[in-house]
């Protein structure tokens, strides 16, 4: 739950949108701000905050908030 909240915070802050509109199912392309530039910024921020790194094989699978949460948990 805590990881989910942290990821939602990162998505909201990076894209400059309200947290209330973001859920685990929110996915790349759902908001105009969540474009390729936004997606890359989110993933960079997640890597920085959780001190982890994704390789390209993993990155391609990260389509929504839940995917990111799952990937972060697997690395902790």
């Amino acid at each position: 739950m805590e990881t989910l909240q942290k990821i939602i915070d990162i998505v909201a802050e990076t894209l400059g949108i309200e947290k209330s509109g973001i859920s685990g199912e929110s996915s790349v392309g759902d908001f105009p701000e969540w474009d390729s530039m936004g997606h890359l910024s989110i993933l960079n921020k997640v890597e920085e905050v959780f001190e982890i790194s994704f390789d390209p094989e993993e990155m391609m699978e990260l389509e929504d908030v839940n995917d990111i949460v799952k990937a972060v948990k697997a690395k902790q």
Binding site: E13, L15, S27, S36, P56
Partner: protein, 437 residues
């Protein structure tokens, strides 16, 4: 022959062939032409009673947009397609420009589209393109890229921009199939579409390639036997990136163009045929003449060069050549190399940003006294905006970002900020942006 005439011919030649695919929706050439004709007749009725000269609308990556766009041409109504993510303020500015200049749209040439680009002053600049311009450009591009009626192309580039919309016209005028996708953000979905729809070509900007690389590594190589061509354009691409793409897709004809909305695809480079000249922007496209003037500025002449700017702003021409604002040099084999830019435009992954526009929004933020924006190198986007700020008090960047939201499009947001005590200026007070680069 206009693009619409080509589509009509294709509807007779390949009635059952898919013209467009979008998600689960497929329309054949025959159905597509019926949809265009029927929409055009509705527009005709509407234009008779409302004296409609143009239609302005936000573009969408779907079949309805394609129908609306080509139907307008058929009904002799000028299209003003604008990007879907354009801010409300920008949309209103464009509407005002249009209503103020409606009379200049009806010249002796028939204007087909007005594409708005970013002028150096930050004011939207309406580029008027005639039917002849559009056909000439499509003919030049198809001749170089070599796409045929047998090709299926993935169009993920925004249709509100000259490059993406140009690809749609190229594919449909040839009788190929266009598969519409909503941007490059979801690479997994994009690769699934290439696979499931058996796409044989696609177009992208260098920033999209950098993004694909970052997100999916070398996975694009699995399409090496499937992709026949790729067209790249709109901004700088390093030789290393070009060679990487060539190594992953050795059988694909990878073409890169140089052009502007005013003079679409004026040069072309084929990565494999012109391997010795990968640092250049290639040679003149067919039916195009390029001249480098004494001061280094690149001039372009040809039937694809636009008709004029909407607001009466005079386009710069010298000896019949449109002056691009870019500087370059030509080698003895005719290859052209870009050496600099005369205009202070920032190119964020192919999208043009005026520093003036970003600065004026930043300057309206209470904690900022004045600002200066420049383009700085970025490994994914080629260039991003950096803002130098003179502040009244410490700026909370989170709050500033919220402030910018909706006022300017997100790609125009400064990627980094630096606080300075003063900005470099000339004696007359003009900002000296180059000193900050």
């Amino acid at each position: 022959m206009t693009i619409e005439e080509c589509i009509y011919k294709n509807s007779l030649k390949f009635p059952q062939k898919p013209a467009l695919i979008c998600g689960n929706q497929t329309v054949t050439y025959s159905v597509f032409w019926q949809m265009i004709s029927s929409y055009a007749s509705d527009l005709n009725k509407l234009s008779e009673c409302r004296k409609m000269i143009y239609q302005i609308y936000r573009t969408a990556q779907n079949i309805d947009f394609a129908v609306r766009y080509f139907a307008a041409h058929l009904a002799k109504i000028i299209n003003v397609p604008v990007d879907n993510d354009i801010s409300k303020e920008r949309f209103e500015e464009i509407e005002n420009e249009l209503s103020a200049s409606a009379s200049s749209m009806c010249g002796e040439h028939s204007v087909a589209d007005i594409m708005f680009t970013t002028g150096t002053t930050g004011r939207p600049k309406g580029v008027m393109l005639t039917h002849e311009n559009l056909s000439a450009a499509a003919e030049n591009i198809n001749a170089f890229v070599s796409n045929t009626a047998d090709d299926t192309e993935l169009i993920a580039l925004p249709l509100g921009h000259s490059f993406g919309l140009g690809r749609l016209r190229c594919v449909l005028s040839k009788g190929g199939t266009a598969v519409l996708a909503n941007g490059f953000a979801n690479i997994k979905k994009l690769f699934e579409t290439i696979e499931n729809q058996h796409c044989t070509g696609f177009a992208l900007v260098p920033a999209a390639w950098n993004y694909i690389q970052r997100i999916s590594g070398d996975k694009i190589a699995k399409f090496a036997g499937q992709l026949k061509y790729i067209e790249i354009g709109s901004s700088y691409m390093s030789e290393t990136s070009k060679r990487k793409l060539m190594s992953l897709l050795p059988q694909t004809r990878i073409c890169m163009h140089y052009g502007l909305t005013e003079a679409s695809r004026s040069t072309f480079l084929s990565f494999s045929n012109d391997e010795k000249y990968l640092n250049s922007i290639g040679r003149e496209s067919q039916n195009t003449e390029i001249k480098i003037f004494e001061d280094g500025e690149i001039g372009v002449k040809g039937p694809h060069v636009f008709y004029g700017y909407l607001n009466g702003e005079k386009a710069e021409f010298r000896d019949g050549f449109f002056l691009t604002g870019d500087c370059g040099k030509k080698d003895s084999d005719g290859y052209i190399y870009l050496t600099g830019r005369k205009k202070e435009i920032i190119n964020v992954g192919g999208k043009k940003v005026s520093p003036f526009e970003v600065e004026s929004v930043l300057n309206s933020y209470p904690d900022i006294k004045e600002s200066c924006c420049v383009g700085v190198y970025d490994e994914v986007y080629g260039e991003v905006v950096k803002a130098y700020l003179v502040v009244n008090k410490t700026v909370d960047y989170k709050e500033l970002r919220k402030f910018l939201n909706g006022k300017i499009e997100t790609y125009k947001f400064p990627a980094s900020f630096e606080t300075v005590t003063n900005l470099p200026k000339t004696e007359s007070g003009k900002l000296q942006r180059l000193k900050l680069k």
